[in-house]
């Protein structure tokens, strides 16, 4: 953290892409930052949370991305430079306000960072390409390729935003957000933290007939930006004097794969590297393609540049071939790799590569390699909730899944996520299922997810009268993304105490009559609660309340509380296997048909003690 806040101008340091974005924002004089945690963007907010006080800026974990974006817009409209960051689905959530914001414009610079996740390495939802939003909402977009560009482009994005009075999108992908690289630092600028909302300096009233005017102005801005895109130095040409008739257009992390592939193939193809990818520098692309026979577009994830280039190529000359992900020379889905680019260039040019990934993979495929799936941690309260629920209903219920650590209940032995859509969707979908079927239905939703998008779904269930069981897994944290606080915790992004908003109070206020708060470690009590709730004619809510075990252990260690360890008394154990096969704790293992507890992994939750029919599990003295 030290380097992000205190690193001196000119110093070379190693930064994560996400950290470099924060440094860029500091160098641009950001005064306000907001987010809702979502990987691969999470470290942007977390870095702000760490430095906000010392840096003299304001940071918050908002209740969801839409609110985060609106808050950042409020700051920018009041003359304070602002940044909002989220993962790809966060942009979807915020989009309702992104569109009018593009029309309205901003006063101070406002940067919207969106992190896409090719291959879904860190986020479960989809390989969405958020670059479509730039086109859809008419917002300029920059795409950095590494940590240095993350920092530099953030600064440029702020300047463009302020100059053109328009929010600017900065789009990263996982290998950029979670890539580390050398960054030469610039100078930190102390930004404004206090502003004032001015009623008439901008077109705020997004309502007819003004809206026709703001739309016209938006297009004027885009025309200006298109001109700038032709000249800006983050759009540049490499190997200008190449005699090759195949050229490459690329952006973001894919640029690096292109350079390495050309090096490996010993080729000097002309490369047009785009940093500002919307609006496209159309003249520049035309002149780039004028003397080429074919052009390869290398980009993450969808063929968006490819489609843009294709349209220009058709204007230019019909015989120009455009290769890319759409054409099938590069994979249509999944994360791009250098190997893919090597193969594509090799195929088009006929230049043989020494690298043979297919032979390499053939050898690999012969090996039998068992999977290692992510698991809920030892002592995770969600495991206890799932165990109790399954012991009551077995497979005889529909389980609505949602977004959080509990998504890992998708795997055996639990399989408690029959569907997963998006934040809060467990409730909406379960309501629909309940309306048309007589099946038992249980929605699992986390605490932070409930605040984020679960409240409207709950109200809808009450108002439109269906009777699912909704289990709110309240582990007192936004755990999956790195334990960020939420309104139920009572700590803000600035690290200050705030009002604790009780989930059970909200549930009651939404009109739910059957509300229970249960500690999931009390398995018996949880089982009784589930059994009782499933008999009700109206919607029931169980708040399964128990602090995330990782946080509990951290806290207990700090407080000097001894964490008990458990072991299995082999003289009492009859090898029924419930603790391993049905409870699935990673601290329990089997060796030579006997069951044991790994003391290094055991976190002392003692739930296994409660579920063991032979009372064979005991605390180690």
């Amino acid at each position: 953290m030290n380097h992000i806040l205190f690193g001196e101008c000119g110093n070379k340091v190693i930064l994560l892409g996400n950290e470099a974005i924060v440094r860029g924002a500091l160098e641009a004089g950001v005064g306000f930052s907001s987010t809702y945690p979502g990987t691969p963007a999470s470290e942007i907010g977390d870095t702000f949370a760490e430095i906000a006080k010392d840096a003299g800026l304001y940071f918050e974990y908002s209740v969801n991305e839409k609110v985060a974006l609106e808050a950042a817009a409020g700051a920018a409209l009041s003359g304070v430079r602002s940044m909002v960051s989220f993962k790809q689905y966060g942009l979807n959530v915020s989009s309702d306000s992104v569109f009018p914001l593009a029309y309205i414009g901003v006063r101070a610079g406002m940067v919207i960072v969106v992190a896409d996740d090719p291959n879904c390495w860190s986020s479960a939802q989809s390989e969405q390409d958020s670059r479509y939003y730039a086109r859809l909402a008419h917002i300029p977009m920059l795409e950095p390729a590494d940590s240095q560009e993350c920092k530099d482009f953030t600064k440029i994005a702020f300047d463009l935003s302020e100059k053109f009075k328009i929010p600017v999108l900065l789009r990263t992908t996982t290998r950029v957000s979670h890539g580390r690289g050398v960054v030469t630092l610039g100078k930190i600028v102390k930004g404004k933290k206090l502003g004032e909302f001015s009623k008439d300096s901008i077109r705020l009233r997004n309502f007819p007939p003004y809206i026709m005017e703001t739309h016209r102005e938006l297009h004027k801005k885009l025309d200006e930006l298109r001109k700038l895109s032709e000249e800006i130095n983050i759009n540049y040409l490499l190997n200008e004097n190449s005699k090759n008739d195949l050229g490459i257009v690329t952006t973001g992390v894919a640029f690096n794969y292109v350079i390495d592939a050309l090096h490996d193939l010993n080729l000097d193809l002309p490369v047009l590297k785009l940093g500002l990818t919307y609006p496209l520098p159309e003249d520049r692309l035309r002149s780039f393609m004028r003397n080429l026979k074919s052009v390869l577009i290398v980009e993450e994830i969808e063929p968006i540049l490819e489609e843009g280039v294709n349209a220009l190529a058709k204007d230019l000359k019909t015989e120009l071939r455009v290769y890319g992900r759409k054409e099938g020379h590069l994979p249509k889905s999944g994360e791009l790799k250098e190997g893919d680019v090597l193969i594509a260039i090799s195929k088009i040019t006929g230049v043989k590569s020494q690298y043979n990934p297919i032979a390499q993979k053939e050898e690999y495929k012969k090996l039998s390699i068992i999977k290692r799936l992510p698991v809920m941690c030892p002592g995770c309260p969600h495991r206890a909730t799932f165990f109790a629920t399954k012991s009551v209903v077995g497979k005889d219920a529909v389980f609505g899944g949602d977004i959080g650590c509990y998504i890992l209940g998708i795997y055996p032995p639990f399989e408690t996520q029959d569907f997963v859509f998006s934040m809060g969707a467990s409730e909406g979908v379960i309501h629909g299922i309940k309306k048309v079927s007589n099946q038992k239905a249980i929605a699992f939703i986390g605490d932070s997810t409930f605040f984020h998008a679960g409240i409207p779904g709950l109200i809808n269930t009450v108002y439109n009268k269906s009777n699912p069981l909704i289990i709110i897994l309240d582990n007192r944290s936004t755990a999956m993304t790195g334990h960020q606080p939420h309104p139920g915790v009572g700590i803000t992004g600035m690290g200050e105490k705030s009002k604790v908003i009780n989930i059970e109070d909200i549930v009651k206020a939404c009109g739910v009559e059957n509300v229970m708060v249960v500690d999931p470690f009390n398995v018996k009590e949880m089982e009784d609660a589930v059994r009782e709730c499933l008999k009700k004619d109206t919607v029931s809510v169980i708040v399964a309340k128990r602090e995330c075990q990782l946080l509990a252990i951290r806290r207990k260690k700090k407080e000097g509380i001894i964490i008990p360890k458990f072991s299995i008394d082999q003289s009492l154990c009859d090898n029924c296997g419930i603790c391993l096969y049905q409870f699935g704790c990673p601290a329990i293992f089997m060796d030579n048909d006997k069951f044991y507890i790994d003391k290094e992994l055991c976190t002392g939750c003692a739930v296994c003690v409660r579920i063991c029919p032979k009372k064979a599990i005991k605390a180690v003295k």
Binding site: S42, Y257, Y355, C405
Partner: protein, 197 residues
């Protein structure tokens, strides 16, 4: 043009990210360009992860191409096997911690964990040198915790010239990447690996 490619593989919680971070700072200290790729979030949680570090005169891609790894640090044997395609016979060294962490799914799906000899044999088709050490056990002896196995292995790799980074540069890297509180323990684990025979 000099370039050195490292894969660090293991399980979320074993210190894969810390090792990645230390190597990047050590390489910077020696004046190299450096890039790395980490995995966070869903990729962790007890799941398998592989991080990439590349350093040299001029580095573009943060990812190591299949077959182009110079050194694979495997903090767990099954994970060495999973990442073996980054290796090739003509250049790659595998440094493997033999301490097994058995995935839960093995019991639930009634699968078998491969034997160490199966793993070592498989690695030999992707490597000219496979080094097996029980780093967890060694680290535990001195630090009381298997968690220091990653740093022990780094010390070992440094002393045996498996990675072109000087001892002082790595110690600097540790200082940059590890919190003050654990610095002493990390240095101890590094020295232990460095002095191993």
């Amino acid at each position: 043009m000099m370039e050195f490619n490292v894969i660090i593989t293991g399980i979320g919680g074993q210190g894969v990210l810390t090792l990645t971070n230390i190597i990047t700072w050590s390489a910077l200290k020696e004046g190299f360009d450096v890039k790395a790729s980490e995995l966070h979030g869903l990729a962790q949680r007890g799941g398998a992860i592989a991080c990439h570090v590349r350093f040299g005169d001029e580095i573009y891609s943060p990812l190591v191409l299949e077959g182009k790894a110079d050194l694979v640090f495997a903090l767990e044997p099954l994970e060495a096997l999973r990442s073996c395609y980054f290796g090739s016979k003509n250049k790659t060294i595998f440094l493997v911690n033999t301490h097994r962490l058995i995935p839960l799914s093995i019991f639930i799906n009634k699968e078998g964990y491969p034997s160490l000899s199966y793993i070592a044999d498989a690695l030999k088709s992707f490597s000219n040198k496979v080094i097996l050490i029980d780093a967890s056990e060694m680290a535990k002896k001195v630090t009381g915790d298997t968690i220091m196995a990653n740093i022990y292995m780094l010390g070992y790799a440094c002393a045996k010239n498996l990675i072109p980074l000087k001892r002082e540069s790595i110690l600097y890297g540790i200082e940059e990447a590890v919190s003050q509180k654990y610095l002493g323990l990390n240095r101890k684990a590094f020295d232990l690996g460095f002095e191993a025979i």
